[in-house]
């Protein structure tokens, strides 16, 4: 095995924690310049050149997604911020071509909004591709397969 399982898991947990705590600038710093943050719509495996995605962010658009929340003060979905906490588990790790480490994991994220009684639950399976970088990793690719991506859902403004 070309990867250190402990270090890979630590990265996934750190990514999750930064997103949960809405430390979005730190979260954004995890991503590499060629990143793709992808949340497919309707199905888990689609052709993004012919089918719609919920999120299909390159690095530039992801920067806007974060800045909208952290800098404008007018992203009403996150004014005030949701309270978030997620569990990440069932981690499987593989070697991936081009020297990347590929992981699959499950998550269960609970989102509480100040003006709602009931929480929103986001549940899905995530594929990460990590690029080794100075003893740590950069996030090159993250695909989130929400189990409700074909259901009538509310707005998604936290980072899944």
């Amino acid at each position: 095995m070309a990867f250190d399982r402990y270090a890979v898991e630590q990265f996934l947990y750190r990514e999750a924690r930064l997103a949960d705590e809405q430390r979005l600038d730190d979260w954004f710093a995890l991503w590499d310049e060629d990143a793709l943050y992808w949340v497919p719509c309707n199905e888990y495996d689609i052709d993004p050149t012919r089918q719609l995605s919920i999120i299909y962010d390159d690095h530039a658009r992801l920067r806007l997604r974060v800045a909208r929340i952290t800098e404008t003060g007018m992203a009403w979905t996150q004014e005030p911020r949701s309270r978030l906490r997620r569990l990440v588990s069932n981690i499987e790790i593989y070697d991936h071509p081009d020297g990347l480490v590929q992981t699959f994991s499950n998550f269960h994220l609970t989102e509480l909004r100040v003006n709602r009684r009931d929480p929103v639950e986001w549940i899905g399976r995530t594929e990460h591709r990590l690029r080794p970088h100075g003893g740590d990793f950069k996030l090159a690719y993250k695909k989130v397969m929400l189990i409700n991506n074909d259901h009538e859902m509310t707005q998604l403004s936290c980072m899944v």
Partner: protein
């Protein structure tokens, strides 16, 4: 209480005034039920697009008001809208969102129907009375189904005005949307955003032609545009309201309305292709233009590009804008499903269609930079109406100003007027007060 009795108890004229509406029209469950009868189960309602069922046996499930429907393509190539309800004991037949099936079999007792809705198979048929005829028990066919440029509308009323009469001048807006395709055809089978919003359906219909909300609800986008997308070679917008106020808010009749961008575009010089980013290669742009000119001729093609897509609400539930077809389905007085589907140009270079998808994703999904805030603001709109000591919702912006007539004779005001919403309410009052 039957519907006629219930309706006669509600004095709609006391709730819908020329310049305001009472909060009850959004919050009263009796009014919601009344609307199902008088609007959703009577008027023309948008249900889907022909391109969702291109082949024999294709189907898509959905709702007409609250009633479950099946849109199918029969062996005769006809598009039908059937009620997704077994005629035996009432179960829904088909559970999938969409697919292809020559027949539908009920999971309860096994009654089987063709994709045209005919009852084909009845298990142990000999135990039914001798006068039982399969022909009497086909799926309920929605009596009136008509298409315009592939947009499928259905009406549960057996008689009434034609779709063309219903659409009136709004049909030309659908033309502008489809004519941008180099084949003249768009396809709406590239996925759909399915969303649930915590408000009454009419708040969605109103908001779709509300130019005034853009400044504040979508303020984050204005901010981002200034922060990241300021282009040095572009002249700054006029001071004050910028380019807002140049758009015409038009009353298209029958509750339909639009935000007509053409007067604004005449000032800014913006065209449909001018909105493309540099990501679309020259060759693709050329191929697109060639296709458009071949279909329409050079002059008409130029007009189509200059005018761009329309921004239209067709009452009660269709909203057609930019690259999307959007529609709503009422769930209950305080819950609405909305569906936003990107439409691609049949026969256009891939790069252009990909750009349409990416544009949708940036702004209009549940995680889009605009729609996510709309969803939150609609919920706050509904939450606020629980403060029932304050009874009225204001609809009076611009009402003191003159109403103009544009070159097509269509009444309009500046887009910062609430004329579009007032035109919806005027039509609503007619529908809800008619016998």
């Amino acid at each position: 209480m039957d519907m006629a009795t219930r309706s006669s108890l509600i004095d709609y004229a006391a709730l819908v005034k020329p310049d305001r509406v009472h909060a009850r029209v959004y919050t009263d469950p009796d009014i919601f039920e009344d609307e199902l009868e008088r609007i959703w189960y009577r008027e023309w309602v948008f249900v889907g697009h022909e391109s969702e069922v291109p082949n024999v046996g294709d189907y898509r499930t959905g709702h007409l008001g609250k009633q479950p429907i099946l849109i199918t393509r029969g062996r005769d190539m006809q598009v039908r809208v059937l009620l997704n309800r077994c005629t035996h004991r009432g179960n829904t037949l088909c559970q999938a969102r969409s697919g292809n099936a020559p027949t539908f079999t009920c999971s309860y007792h096994g009654w089987t129907y063709s994709c045209e809705g005919d009852l084909q198979g009845v298990l142990f048929r000999e135990d039914f009375p001798p006068d039982f005829r399969r022909e009497d028990h086909g799926l309920y066919r929605v009596p009136r189904v008509e298409m315009y440029r592939g947009f499928i509308f259905a009406s549960l009323a057996k008689t009434g005005k034609s779709l063309q009469e219903h659409l009136g001048p709004a049909a030309a807006n659908i033309d502008r949307f489809c004519d941008l395709s180099p084949s003249g055809e768009i396809t709406m089978n590239h996925g759909v955003y399915r969303m649930r919003i915590e408000c009454n359906w009419k708040m969605w219909t109103e908001n779709s032609v509300d130019s005034y909300h853009v400044y504040q609800t979508h303020g984050s986008n204005v901010y981002l545009a200034n922060m990241f997308e300021a282009k040095a070679d572009k002249p700054p917008p006029p001071p004050g309201k910028g380019y807002f106020g140049l758009i015409h808010a038009r009353d298209l009749g029958n509750g339909h309305s639009d935000l007509d961008m053409r007067p604004q575009r005449r000032v800014t010089g913006m065209t449909y292709t001018g909105e493309w980013s540099g990501d679309i290669p020259e060759s693709a742009q050329r191929a697109y233009l060639d296709g458009l000119e071949k279909l329409h001729g050079k002059a008409k093609a130029e007009q189509i590009l200059t005018e761009g897509p329309a921004h239209t609400v067709i009452f009660p539930n269709l909203f057609n804008m930019l690259q999307e077809i959007r529609w709503c389905v009422p769930v209950s007085v305080n819950e609405t499903y909305i569906y936003y589907a990107p439409c691609l140009f049949k026969g256009a270079p891939d790069e252009i269609n990909i750009a349409r998808l990416r544009r949708d994703e940036g702004a209009y999904g549940p995680a889009g930079f605009q729609l996510s805030d709309d969803i939150e603001v609609w919920a706050r709109n509904y939450q606020g109406l629980q403060a029932r000591e304050v009874e009225w919702i204001l609809m009076n912006r611009g009402i003191h100003q003159p109403v103009g007539r544009d070159e097509d004779g269509i009444p309009y005001q500046s887009d910062l007027s609430e004329l579009t919403m007032r035109s919806q309410w005027r039509h609503y009052l007619e529908l809800m007060s008619s016998p």
